[in-house]
């Protein structure tokens, strides 16, 4: 928290912060009229006495009101989101603004009993925050291991309800995870919340052992995604904010998708522009309806695609075509044009898109997740530019590993006694994989 704004102190408030550093919650007190004073003053606001002292508060408080901050905070607080701010009433009769920590949002209520806990802001300053008085409601425990585990739990809890995306496991035998950008009234534009949720969702799906395929799509009829939300743009005027949007959210979203150990299938309809196209480029397969429109418009603002587009587009089609896309700033490339340029996996007439897409996904999702995972990794490393001998070694050893993976061996076991049965099964599976 070292970059955080520090309290701007007055000479007569320094004792409060010195106390906080020592784990004491001090309240200014007037010896003459017995008033407890907050915010601390140079003179007693009740009687103008200068005969002031400090008493140590018991540290007990009740929630008067609270809010979970989710958006539209200063850049310096972004890394804390979501966080809970509260008005709390101390037993000593004063009200403070503070943060409620070590507690799940859904457990917080007006009137809840709290106790003070000091959180270091830097080497000099500790902030008086509050946690549930009831230990059973606290997330953090004393041992570091437990704290880590609880932090992970807290993160899961924080994302229990996504606000900007949908996350659903489905398909035959729950083998497909559907992650849907869900801001249809904003053309599914990416704001900071969506970036955080995408990173979380693509990491979360790694734990779904039965899932082999992730479908990334956009909600509504208008767009897959049109890139960064306009609300982000003002913050990009700040150099550090802009760099962080690219290097934190941008890079992490790309990595979460491209590094996801499932086959990520982009389902593109409507507009697929700028940052929307860039997250599509991080997918493994891209299918589009013929009315979809593509483009990178960043150059129209004097910049370039910065969420991997400038790097990935020339790796996804012949470079002379990629250059035109990036330099032209056009946003009206048709799906057919983009397919002809070499980018998309396949384009379907709009009326056939849903059914065809479903058939393709069902077929891939029927494969062993371990094989899909290994295939994704081998191909990714291979096309990243290693020499052919390395690529072949990677492939060979990966397949050897797969063959002896426990679930593949378990599948092969019944066939060992009857190799002809294996051949028959193989033919059946081959036929099932054909699309016509």
């Amino acid at each position: 928290m070292s970059q955080k704004p520090v309290p701007i102190m007055q000479p007569w408030t320094k004792a409060f912060w010195a106390g906080a550093k020592e784990g004491k919650l001090l309240v200014q007190h007037c010896r003459d009229c017995q008033a407890n004073i907050f915010f601390p003053k140079k003179v007693c606001p009740e009687c103008w006495s200068r005969n002031l002292t400090w008493i140590e508060a018991g540290g007990k408080a009740k929630v008067y009101s609270f809010t979970q901050m989710l958006d539209m905070v200063e850049p310096v607080f972004w890394e804390d989101l979501p966080y809970v701010i509260a008005f709390v009433d101390l037993e000593e009769g004063i009200r403070m603004t503070t943060r409620i920590v070590n507690c799940r949002m859904e457990d917080i209520c007006i009137g809840m009993d709290l106790e003070v806990v000091f959180q270091p802001l830097n080497d000099e300053i500790a902030m008086p925050c509050f946690q549930p008085a009831d230990p059973a409601l606290r997330l953090a425990a004393s041992s570091a291991d437990t704290e880590d585990a609880e932090d992970g739990k807290a993160e899961e809890e924080a994302f229990a309800g996504y606000q900007t995306i949908l996350y659903e496991i489905g398909g035959k035998d729950d083998t497909v995870c559907f992650i849907t950008l869900n801001r249809p009234d904003k053309f599914n534009a990416i704001n900071r919340q969506m970036a955080r949720e995408l990173i979380h969702a693509f990491r979360r799906v790694r734990e779904e052992a039965g899932v082999g395929v992730v479908v990334l799509a956009g909600a509504g009829e208008k767009a897959f995604c049109t890139g960064g939300d306009l609300e982000i743009f003002p913050s990009l005027a700040d150099h550090q904010s802009s760099l962080n949007w690219l290097a934190h959210e941008g890079l992490d979203v790309q990595r979460a998708i491209s590094g996801c150990e499932k086959v990520v299938v982009g389902k593109i309809h409507g507009h697929c522009l700028a940052g929307g196209l860039e997250i599509a480029l991080a997918c493994d397969l891209l299918y589009a309806g013929e009315s979809a429109r593509f483009g990178t418009t960043e150059i129209n603002m004097g910049v370039l695609p910065g969420w991997g587009g400038t790097a990935r587009l020339p790796r996804s089609m012949p470079v002379f075509r990629a250059r035109e896309m990036i330099f032209s700033g056009r946003k009206d490339y048709t799906a057919k044009e983009v397919y002809d340029m070499g980018l998309l996996t396949r384009v379907f007439p709009d009326q056939e898109f849903e059914a065809s897409f479903e058939r393709i996904v069902a077929n891939i999702a029927a494969k062993k997740p371990a094989a899909l995972r290994m295939g994704k990794e081998v191909m990714a490393r291979s096309v990243d530019g290693c020499d052919m001998e390395t690529a072949l070694a990677l492939e060979r050893n990966a397949i050897q590993w797969l063959t002896y993976a426990p679930d593949i061996q378990a599948m092969l076991e019944p066939f060992k006694a009857d190799p002809t049965r294996l051949t028959r099964q193989q033919k059946k599976d081959n036929m099932a994989s054909d699309q016509r």
């Binding site: 102190m9 008067y64 809010t67 539209m72 701010i85 902030m127 925050c129």
Partner: protein, 392 residues
């Protein structure tokens, strides 16, 4: 009208919105000339200029403070000039200063301008201003507090105490946006009015406050010409007469604000204004409320006894406050409907109070308006100024 000493006789306004190409001086020229023309006076009859302080715009603030408006507009009859800053309550205090200038005989006509151009303020400056103004740098800001956070907590507490539902809170936005959709000077003019569902479907900014329950920062400006009630009456032209006023100060910061004292203060300031006007709540035809966010609207309605406790949300939900309703409420849609222009929303509210009383409110004109209640508040709710206005 024996209580009246001040009258608004001319108004001028530019549309609120995002207009980076419209300079601050464009706004001053256009609104002031329109107000002077609307008043039917000659520019040289303006004897004082009292300007609403432009927030977060230090350069023009300094220029205006040092007397540039009369020179720029060639107001050669001007005797005095100043800027008044009480945050969102500035316009109320500009009117009081004007009243004093007029009563003392120093000025016959006073020009009161306001302008805000948010769209060209560098983002770091805008953040620096709005993140810290009205939020204490020692006891609030370091925790990550924001204006939205403050209002979110007030909203949660109000909902807790009154039993108001999220849908009812959202219906306040719907009502405000219905007025705004009919207002040519609103950022949301002719824009689709969101449904309750759409308000609640907008992203949560700070629970329980949704994005559509927050304000859009915008550019805008307006000007008024005021004179004595006696002079206005003699001119026999449409005018809005100030009939009564009451005010209370609470605290600079929300942490230290006593909610009961605040509620009592809002109530008492209102009833003092009504008593000074010789009126009761039943005489009021329009409740022109400026409280910046939705939560203040049902809260005030209940405090003033305009509905049963806990029932204000229903009043909004049932459409009584919207155009055509029995309780016309915030006819520019407050900051949520108008677009937030710093201290300008209070100016815009006064301008609309005058516009309604002059019968110039177009599609939003409330029929047979005799008395309009008007309120302002500054900072993060540091004070509350209620006033009552009427026509001759």
């Amino acid at each position: 009208m024996s209580h009246s000493k001040l009258a608004i006789i001319g108004i001028g306004e530019v549309p609120t919105g995002i207009y980076p190409d419209r300079s601050r001086w464009d706004i001053i020229y256009d609104t002031c000339i329109a107000a002077v023309n609307d008043a039917g006076i000659h520019k040289d009859e303006v004897e004082a200029v009292v300007t609403v302080a432009p927030q977060a715009q230090p350069e023009i603030y300094a220029e205006i403070s040092f007397g540039k408006i009369p020179e720029e507009l060639g107001l050669i009859g001007c005797r005095d000039v100043c800027v008044c800053n009480a945050g969102g309550a500035s316009t109320s205090n500009c009117l009081r200063l004007a009243e004093q200038l007029i009563e003392s005989g120093e000025a016959r006509y006073v020009l009161i301008p306001h302008l805000t151009v948010h769209s060209t303020i560098p983002i770091p400056d805008l953040i620096n201003f709005f993140a810290k103004a009205g939020i204490d740098r020692q006891w609030e800001y370091p925790f990550g507090q924001t204006y939205n956070g403050i209002i979110a907590m007030m909203t949660r507490r109000y909902m807790y105490e009154s039993g108001t539902t999220a849908e009812e809170m959202a219906s306040v936005v719907v009502s405000l946006r219905k007025w705004a959709a009919l207002d040519p000077n609103s950022i949301f003019y002719k824009k689709e009015v969101p449904t309750i569902e759409k308000v609640l479907a907008s992203g949560m900014v700070a629970s329980p406050l949704h994005k559509r329950e927050c304000n859009v920062l915008a550019d805008g400006g307006a000007a008024m010409v005021v004179t004595s009630a006696e002079n206005a009456r003699a001119r026999k032209a449409p005018a809005a007469y100030k009939l009564g006023e009451g005010s209370r100060y609470f605290s600079a910061f929300t942490t230290t604000r006593d909610s009961k004292k605040t509620e009592t203060g809002m109530h008492d300031a209102t009833f003092e204004a009504l008593a000074r006007a010789g009126l009761t709540t039943s005489d009021i035809d329009i409740w022109n409320v400026y409280l910046a966010y939705p939560v203040g609207h049902p809260l005030l309605m209940e405090l003033l006894g305009l509905c049963e406790p806990g029932q204000a949300g229903k009043m909004f939900m049932e459409g009584h406050t919207a155009p055509g309703g029995k309780l016309p409420w915030a006819t520019i849609g407050d900051a949520v409907g108008r677009g937030h222009t710093g201290s300008g929303v209070s100016m815009a509210t006064y301008v609309d109070t005058a516009r309604q009383l002059m019968g110039k409110a177009g599609e939003r004109q409330v029929p047979d308006v005799k008395y309009v209640y008007q309120c302002t508040s500054g900072g993060s709710g540091m004070n509350f100024i209620a006033s009552v206005w009427g026509r001759d």
